[in-house]
């Protein structure tokens, strides 16, 4: 029995591998995700271990507002110089350095633009001299206040050399310095982990990076010989008190690495999500392939039954085939996944400015995940065909049992039930009734909806395929092709369903993002009453900002009526993390953003007052006169009194603080500016003047409102494009499915095709017949996908109504493209099977048994 199974498997290896390809891809993404995170994780470990190699104990103040990696760069609270002295007196301390080290030192390159970074911070530091790790390559350390040194990788990226005057943006606006030296790291590295570094003299670093004299970011301590870092840590901790975090160098490295790894889980989720799509489509393909194979082997399986095989043995033999396919697919997928993981890690390393990669790692999770996913999916998909195989009566071995058209009632009822479950889950999830499980509920709903619709497709396929086929019915081959595609509704349906999944997801995502774009532009156009907007793309982890002096100067330009600079910060408000904003001119709230007061006065704001949005007021039970305690990124916590409440809209912030508060923001500079012109003033007259004002703020530019809106909404284009590219792969897998189904159908109908040829069907006509069949199936799949995707997208858009996505925008053009694409896909998929059909030897086919 085992041998018979394996031999029959070998005889159909190509076909099974084709259907297994989808599993290969799914497994590839699963194992690739694990390999990528493992490799990068160990690389981070190495980087931080290296960076802290000459650090025994580190003293830092607890941050005022603790942020996760995803929420932005956390601002460390400053350590006063007195603490450095206190540490110095601890016994067992060999060396103490007060270190200034903060993100946000942006060097302006020789091209006048800020050197950008994808991920690693742009550190501004005080120059502490050379060490075992750090060596000057050129020049000397900074001695005067207008001197800096930078790391070699940054000098190279900025195309600056020793002796140049270079501009640096910090907490303060642009300042010019003389580059007096370039340093590198041991092992001929120009940077550690792609980090850009600008080193100033200590007082300058304190002022520009921390905003205060005589404070440090942290204190680096080296232990004297004979004192362990752990022992020293405990001693230092006692000396400085509970306000400070004291860690060994190893702890610092481990914590920093852990926080970066947390950020990596995002990549993992994308890759795993895509694996899920590939596997879902793959399930349909495998189900179909095995169903067809079982149908083709009816006589063989009946024979097995006739000579004594039990139903269970038949199921076993089909499942065994599935196990073999799953195993092979898992092995191939794992190999491909290691490759993809390595490639992505390499690209990531490059993008992150030369992260030195640790050796490629294949964690056990990658291997276990690959085999578990590959095997389970294949076996589950093959189970239904296997059960069907076991039901073949032994008598089928002796006569051509006409497989009766099994009624579709059962599958239709099942489909309706599953679809209903999916719809219910979606309703729960999108309606916000699922609590913490919202995402899982929505995903489950989508999955159930797909399976349900797939089960319903046989029923839908009859009328729709007949209608689609009518287009081709003018010629005999067209008519035959149409009839063939309607011949086995289940097979047609599953093949089309595989295509449906990919197209439905792309359509759904496009509907959501287009609706979001449409809603944002509509809102912005209706409400923002500013003719010119100052904004820019960020050059690193933090948003772009500009010199606040520009605001006053712009206000002085003739024809300018109102200028507002917007600041933002993540703060702790009454113990909860909240996004707070400050406007340089609070009047802008009403006059530019169209806010209306629901209580109090929102046109002015005293230094101890704040405004809140109606939503925030409701959720925090605030009213005019309430006091809230606000801890910003810097400075001490202080109380503010609510003096007004404005109606919440997409354009308003939860809380607005007075402009004075912005000095304690993590970024004490405006990140957006809005300029309102007096009636009759031409935009073209004012724009160049503001452009000139922004000469020293190279991160931002000024644009008219239309350009600004376009720039804002175009941020959504990047995720859209990424998702489209990824899902295109799901469609490619579905195309493989169509090829597979057609190839099997051609094989199955060898005798019939031979007969048609014998009675005079030409080769070209045969090919046309097959092509029509393929096109009908794929257009049917695309049609289903567009309809289901639009439904899902519309449901999400409806659910996001309160989030401000008010307009449902349907991408008609794109939907049309999908249908045309589907027709092309059909033609392409038909090529090989059609050639095969046309090549059938007429005589052989008729004699074929």
């Amino acid at each position: 029995m085992l041998r018979a199974t394996l031999k029959s498997l070998l005889a159909r290896k190509l076909r099974l591998l084709l259907s297994g390809l989808a599993v290969v891809l799914g497994v590839m993404f699963v194992s690739g995700a694990f390999v990528l995170t493992d490799t990068l994780g160990r690389s981070f470990d190495a980087v931080f271990a290296d960076a802290t190699s000459d650090l025994d104990v580190n003293v830092a103040a607890k941050p005022k507002v603790a942020l996760s990696e995803a929420e932005g760069e956390q601002v460390a609270a400053p350590v006063p110089a007195s603490v450095v002295e206190r540490v110095r007196s601890v016994p067992g301390v060999a060396e103490v350095k007060g270190v200034v080290n903060a993100d946000g030192a942006r060097l302006i390159g020789s091209n006048g633009k800020v050197v950008t970074s994808f991920g690693p911070p742009q550190l501004g530091e005080n120059w502490l001299g050379e060490s075992d790790l750090l060596k000057l390559r050129e020049g000397r350390g900074p001695q005067a206040d207008d001197e800096i040194v930078v790391n070699a990788a940054l000098a190279e990226a900025a195309k600056v050399k020793v002796g140049d005057r270079v501009g640096v943006l910090t907490l303060a606006p642009k300042k010019e310095f003389t580059l007096v030296g370039v340093f590198g790291y041991s092992g001929d590295r120009g940077s550690i982990g792609g980090v850009n570094e600008v080193a100033f003299t200590t007082p300058v670093a304190q002022q520009l990076m921390l905003g205060k004299p005589d404070v440090f970011s942290n204190v680096a301590v080296r232990a004297a010989d004979g004192t362990t870092p752990e022992a020293l840590r405990d001693q230092v901790a006692r000396a400085v008190g509970a306000d400070y975090e004291v860690k060994t160098g190893e702890q610092v490295a481990a914590d920093a690495s852990a926080s970066l790894k947390e950020g990596l889980s995002f990549f993992n989720k994308i890759l795993l999500g895509f694996a899920a799509v590939a596997l879902l489509v793959g399930t349909f393909l495998i189900l179909n392939t095995f169903s067809i194979i079982v149908a083709q082997r009816t006589r063989e399986l009946a024979l097995m039954r006739a000579i004594g095989a039990s139903g269970r043995q038949i199921i076993g033999s089909v499942v065994l085939e599935a196990v073999a396919v799953g195993l092979i697919a898992s092995v191939l997928g794992l190999a491909a996944g290691i490759g993809v993981g390595a490639l992505l890690a390499y690209l990531f390393g490059k993008l992150a400015g030369g992260l030195a990669l640790a050796g490629l790692g294949v964690p056990p999770a990658a291997v276990i995940g690959a085999f578990a996913v590959g095997l389970v999916i294949t076996v589950v998909a093959a189970l239904l065909p296997a059960i069907r195989a076991a039901r073949i009566p032994p008598i089928a071995a002796m006569q051509d049992v006409a497989t009766p058209d099994r009624p579709l009632t059962k599958v239709t009822v099942g489909g309706a039930v599953v679809t209903a479950i999916g719809a219910a889950l979606l309703f729960l999830g999108l309606g916000g009734h699922a609590g913490d499980n919202t995402l899982a509920t929505i995903l489950g709903g989508v999955l159930f909806a797909f399976i349900g619709v797939a089960l319903l497709t046989p029923l839908i396929s009859r009328p729709v395929v007949a209608l689609l086929g009518a287009i081709f019915a003018w010629s005999v081959p067209g008519k035959l092709g149409r009839l063939n595609s309607g011949r086995n509704p289940r097979r047609t349906a599953i093949t089309a369903a595989a295509l449906m999944v990919g197209i439905a997801l792309v359509t759904g995502v496009t509907v959501i993002l287009d609706s979001a774009k449409g809603s944002i532009s509509a809102l912005a156009e209706d409400t923002i009453k500013a003719e010119l907007v100052i904004s820019g793309a960020s050059s690193g982890p933090r948003p772009a900002s500009f010199d606040p002096a520009v605001l006053d100067k712009a206000a002085a330009i003739p024809g300018v009526q109102l200028v507002d600079g917007e600041y933002g910060d993540m703060a702790m408000v009454d113990g909860r993390r909240t996004w707070v904003a400050a406007s340089s001119d609070v009047a802008a709230l009403e006059r530019i953003f169209g806010a209306t007061a629901t209580a109090g006065d929102i046109s002015r704001l005293g230094p101890d007052q704040l405004l809140v949005s109606s939503d925030t007021a409701k959720s925090r039970k605030l009213s005019v006169g309430s006091t809230v305690r606000v801890q910003l990124s810097r400075g001490e916590a202080r109380s503010y009194t609510v003096s007004g409440i404005y109606e919440s809209s997409q354009l308003t912030n939860p809380m607005t603080l007075p402009p004075q508060a912005a000095a304690d923001f993590a970024i004490p500079q405006p990140i957006q500016g809005f300029v309102q012109l007096s009636p009759g003033t031409r935009v073209a007259d004012v724009q160049p003047q503001i452009e000139r004002l922004l000469a020293d703020s190279p991160e931002v530019s000024v644009a008219d409102r239309a350009a600004f809106i376009k720039q804002q909404t175009s941020q959504l284009d990047t995720p859209l494009r990424m998702i489209q590219i990824l899902l295109a792969l799901a469609i490619v897998i579905a195309v493989l499915g169509i090829i597979n189904t057609l190839a099997l159908s051609v094989l199955e109908r060898t005798r019939e095709l031979g007969l048609l040829r014998a009675i005079g069907l030409r080769r070209a006509q045969t090919m046309r017949m097959i092509t029509v069949e393929a096109v009908v199936i794929s257009i049917f799949g695309a049609l289903l996908g567009v309809v289901v995707g639009t439904g899902l997208g519309a449901a999400v858009v409806r659910a996001l109504k309160d989030e401000g996505i008010t307009d449902l925008v349907l991408p008609w053009g794109q939907m049309g493209t999908f249908l045309v694409l589907a027709a092309i896909v059909g033609v392409v998929a038909a090529v090989l099977p059609a050639i095969r059909a046309a090549r059938i030897n007429v005589l052989g086919a008729i004699a074929h048994d």
Partner: protein
């Protein structure tokens, strides 16, 4: 009319008042009308009859491939009627062998693997002496490693015969075993079946419409319109042909 033939204690298969009705209402077709018949152990019986006479249905019912509407079927001391899937599987495994018109060999397996397939499905080892005897009787020793596609039709059918024989079933049911063979290959296969009955005491029930093939049997049972109408002991091709003609004549007039 019901023929009761050769009442011996040792019946390998027995049908008692078997009725088989397909469909219902106007589309109702009665394929068997109260057939009672015994097939003695160690004999070669042919079932003949014109198309639609119910001969294949009778065989399917006897072999437990099809259920009967009324009456009982027994193989050896097992009552086939009423057995569930597991019981029928065991019956096919242990008591019944099949030879088909289309040979029905697995194309991916060699001749030897095809022959041993029923045993390997049942998880049993072949009796080496008996296996050798079977292989020598069918004369395929030098062809054992070949695939079906590399064998002639006659050789393929001999492989199928060996497959049926090797498990030593109570009864072998042969469904038009020479239907797809030329007369020479057909004669080879029939001789072989005849010999296995003579020399090894195998019981064979064969459905055929070929008088020459039927002549190899010890006894021929004739069916018409779902009833047993006649029988011949020690038939020859001529006597079979004569009986067939007599059966056909009234039927044609009737139509």
């Amino acid at each position: 009319m019901t023929a009761t033939v050769g009442r011996q204690a040792q019946a390998a298969a027995r049908a008692s008042d078997v009725w088989k009705v397909y469909g219902s209402g106007e589309a109702q077709v009665t394929a068997l009308r109260g057939v009672t018949c015994e097939f003695e152990r160690g004999r070669f019986t042919a079932i003949m009859g014109p198309s639609g006479s119910g001969k294949s249905t009778l065989m399917h019912c006897l072999a437990g491939l099809d259920t009967v509407t009324r009456g009982t079927v027994m193989i050896g001391d097992t009552t086939v009627t009423g057995l569930g899937d597991a019981g029928l599987t065991r019956l096919r495994r242990d008591k019944v062998g099949f030879i088909f018109q289309q040979f029905n060999l697995l194309p991916t397996l060699t001749a030897q693997e095809n022959i041993l397939l029923p045993l390997s499905i049942a998880g049993r080892k072949p009796d080496p002496a008996w296996y050798d005897t079977v292989i020598d009787t069918v004369g395929l020793r030098d062809r054992l490693g070949h695939r079906p596609a590399q064998l002639s039709g006659g050789q393929q059918q001999r492989v199928a015969c060996a497959r049926a024989l090797v498990a030593r079933p109570e009864v072998i049911f042969a469904d038009e075993p020479t239907g797809n063979l030329d007369s020479r290959a057909g004669a080879e296969v029939l001789n072989f079946l005849h010999n296995s009955v003579r020399e090894h005491g195998q019981t064979i029930v064969m459905v055929t419409h070929d008088p020459t093939a039927a002549a190899y049997a010890d006894r021929v049972v004739f069916l018409a319109d779902g009833q047993i109408v006649s029988e011949l002991i020690e038939p020859t091709a001529d006597t079979v042909l004569d009986t067939m003609k007599k059966l056909d004549a009234p039927a044609e007039v009737g139509n």
